[in-house]
Every structure is written in C-alpha cells, then in structure tokens.
Symmetry: C2
Subunit: 261 residues, 2 copies
C-alpha cells in the first residue's frame, strides 16, 4: 500500500469524523439543556476525570481503591504526561509563593513536606497494583519501600532545593514506620538528591494506629512549640493538610492512586 | 465508496495509530524520566487542565481572571459536557452522603447552599465575558442578575429537591446584594423550581465590603445560635466553605470561570 493511498484514506476517515461532529453539533443547538450532553468517544475517561477532580477537591473522601473502570485512565494520567504537568504547575505556584514571602530570617522559618508521592514517587510500585485499583497491601508496600528505589519527583526536588537554598528549615514528615523503614528511606532520599533538610520525622510507636491527621498535627504542634514558624505545608494527601497548626498555606499535590485515611 | 472499503480503511488507519503508539511506547521505556513527557496535540488544553485542577484543589487562590490562552478550553469544558458530568458526579456523592445521614429529625437539621453557579447558572452571562478571561464587571453582572433569567443547574436542583423532601431545612446563602437583587433572585429561584427552602439570605448593608468568608461565617454562626445543626454546605467557591461553623461536611462544586475573594 503506497503513501498516497494511505493519506487518501486518512483524509476520508477525517471527513467522516467531521461529518459526525457537525451532525452532533447541529443536533445540540436545537436541544435543551443549553450545555450539550456529549456522548464521548471514551465515556469512561470523562467519568474518571470527574472522579479525579472530586478526589482532588476533597469531595470524595476516605476512598479505598480507584474505580476499576478507571485503571486505564489513571495509567494514562500518571505516565502519559498530565500528572507531570500538574506537578510542575503546582510546584511553580509554590515557588512563586516562596519568592514573595517576607520571612523573619531568624533561622526558624520552616516548611513541611510529606515524603511518599510528594518527594519520592511510588508509581513503579502502583503499576503492579493496577494504579490503585487493587486494595492497599501494607506488606507489599513495606517490601517496596525497603528497596529504597523510589525515584525523586523532579518538580518537588526543585522546590526542595529552592527552599533549602533560600534558608528555610525543611522538615520531612512521613507516615512511614521508623523502626522498619528509617534506614532505607534515609538512603533513598539521599540517593535521589534530597540533601540538606533539617529533620526527617517518621511515625514512631507512640503514633501507631493513630490517624495521619492526628500524627501530623502533633508533629507540627511540637515544631511550633520549638519556635518554628511554618510557612508552607505540601502533601499529596488531604490528611497531610488537615488538623491543627497547618502552616501559613497548604498545597495539595495530585494523587489519584491511593488515599491515606 | 462502499461499506467494505470504508471499514478496510478505518482498520488500516487504526493499525497506523497502533504502530505509532507502540513506537512511542518503546521509545518511552528506554528514556528518563520514567514518565514520558508528552508533546500534546494541543499544549494549551493540557496546561489549562493543570490550571483548572489547581483552582479546584485550592492551590491557586484569589485569581482574578481565567488565563487568556485557556478561553477555548474553559468554553469546551463548560458547554462541551465535562462540567455537567462533574456536577452530576458530585451531586450523586452528596446525595449518597444525605442518604446515609442519621439525623435528629427535630426540625433543626439544616443544609447550606450557595446560589450563583450552585443553584443557578451564570454560564450565559460568562459567555459574554470570554468565560472569565474578562475581569469581573460588577454592574454588568448586576444587570444580568436583575433579569432573573439564570437557568437552574439540574444536578443541584435534584439535590435541593431531595433535601427538602427528606425534611432538611435548606438555607440559601448568597453574596448578592439584598437591596437591589432580592426581588429578581426570589423570582428566578421560583421560576426554576427552587421551591420549599427555609430562608434565602442575602448580603445586607451590614456586610458591605466584608469578605465572603466573613459574611458567610457570620450567617452560619447565627443559624447555629438559633439551634440549627448544619449537616452540609455546598458552594462553587472555596470562600463558601472556609471560616467558621462550616457544617458537618463541605462540598466544592466546580467553577473555573471566576473566583470570589
């Protein structure tokens, strides 16, 4: 089949698409409601975008798994470029907020960053968990984290570097268990370039079984008692950004793969 | 051209697409970063999706206009079907929350709904304002609101009806000015089917110049003083859902056209 024939076919198929599009449009103009109810080529992906938006706006809470029919959508979102765009966009927003801050400069200007899917990415792990369509598997995740092989999220590494360079004390606060995961996590953060933070705070025995909101609020409260002023607080979970002593501004990074209650 | 030829062509074009997809995939596997940076067909629409997500997750605050290059994206979002899907999705979430509530049933179970772009749609007006790319025009909006021609948002009308039928006292709380806009707003809500609410509360002289958060917090505080239990609070603006006496759960409806500070 030669090039000319192929391009003729592509053209014909395009004409057919345009015909159907115009047919739909002319139908839509004459109907109520005034916004057109689209029959999308991939109905799922539009539903799944609604789901993702609802998760990110905190309208859907305490969800356990990604809806099964959204697996392909979430895969495309996570590795097709949009997740990276979204991350970059928010990191730029945060950096411009940082630039505009007028801080005390007394060495007590602090920032809080979460670790999993904030500093370090777990996409590789979740690829094996159908991008979150499979339920949470604590021992599987622990085995993965023990490997210390999580890649940095480039946008957040850039933010981290700016914060450290600007003189902020950066506190990494993670729900990872100190007893089992501290060495691997410390090494992983180091080998990915997260160097120069003030403190890496794990979940200790004292907080076992307590919710993320309770644990992280308590940590922030202790930091404020030590005299730190928390200028910003960044996480991929709403539970990173709720509770007490939230800081001057919070930023929610996207994560449609799992929800930490 | 007969049916057989067309389907053969469609098949061939599909094969070409699959070939390119596989070529891209195999390229992606060998490259860093592990997620592929896509060169999207329409770079703008992906940027604008990032912007919209950031707005809905409250990462971008106090914005004044839609980014100019996103006008077409927002138009497509608002009238192409996705906005309606998003609205329906959240309304279903809220309805399922309502169904699961165990209320006191003492006649003091309350809900708060915002009016503009929660109960009533201003899409028609914003079509003339480049879907929010033009700056806020107070007198233009007042003239529009005076016409009393805003259509109901079907998903929210359905929620409203369920709330009233379930015995909740529904309070509509709006930043619209009482003195000038009360009659038109009352008529508009009635002609669109919002019938049976407990009270419609406007912004009065006392709150002129005060922020939406201050005004709406004060109204909710007064309702709680009267003995009402606020089970839910629904609005299209984050400022509807911040401050004091927020209620048992808040729900953020999408609105990428404007931001009320």
């Amino acid at each position: 089949m030669d090039h000319h024939m192929i391009s003729a076919m592509v053209k014909r198929v395009r004409e057919i698409f345009i015909f159907f599009f115009l047919a739909m449009l002319s139908k839509a103009i004459g109907t109520k409601p005034f916004w057109r109810t689209r029959e999308p080529a991939d109905g799922n992906s539009n539903d799944c975008l609604s789901w993702r938006l609802a998760v990110e706006a905190n309208n859907v809470r305490g969800w356990r798994t990604v809806p099964t029919h959204c697996q392909h959508y979430i895969e495309t979102y996570m590795i097709g470029g949009q997740y990276e765009l979204d991350m970059n966009y928010i990191a730029e927003q945060i950096k411009s907020y940082v630039t505009d801050l007028v801080v005390s400069g007394d060495g007590m200007d602090a920032w809080i960053l979460d670790v999993d899917d904030t500093c370090l990415s777990n996409i590789f792990y979740y690829q094996g968990k159908k991008y979150g369509c499979d339920p949470y598997d604590p021992s599987g995740f622990k085995a993965w984290a023990m490997m210390g092989a999580c890649p940095a999220i480039p946008a957040v590494l850039g933010l981290f570097t700016k914060l450290v360079d600007s003189g902020f004390k950066v506190f990494l606060v993670t729900g990872r268990d100190e007893e089992t995961l501290a060495p691997a996590t410390i090494a992983n953060l180091h080998n990915q370039g997260f160097i120069g933070y003030e403190r890496l705070i794990f979940r200790t025995q004292a907080f076992k079984g307590k919710s993320a909101v309770v644990f992280k609020s308590e940590i922030r409260k202790q930091l404020m008692k030590e005299g730190y002023k928390i200028w910003g607080n960044v996480g991929d979970q709403w539970t990173d950004l709720q509770g007490e002593c939230l800081g001057n501004q919070t930023f929610k990074l996207p994560n449609p793969m799992y929800c930490v209650p």
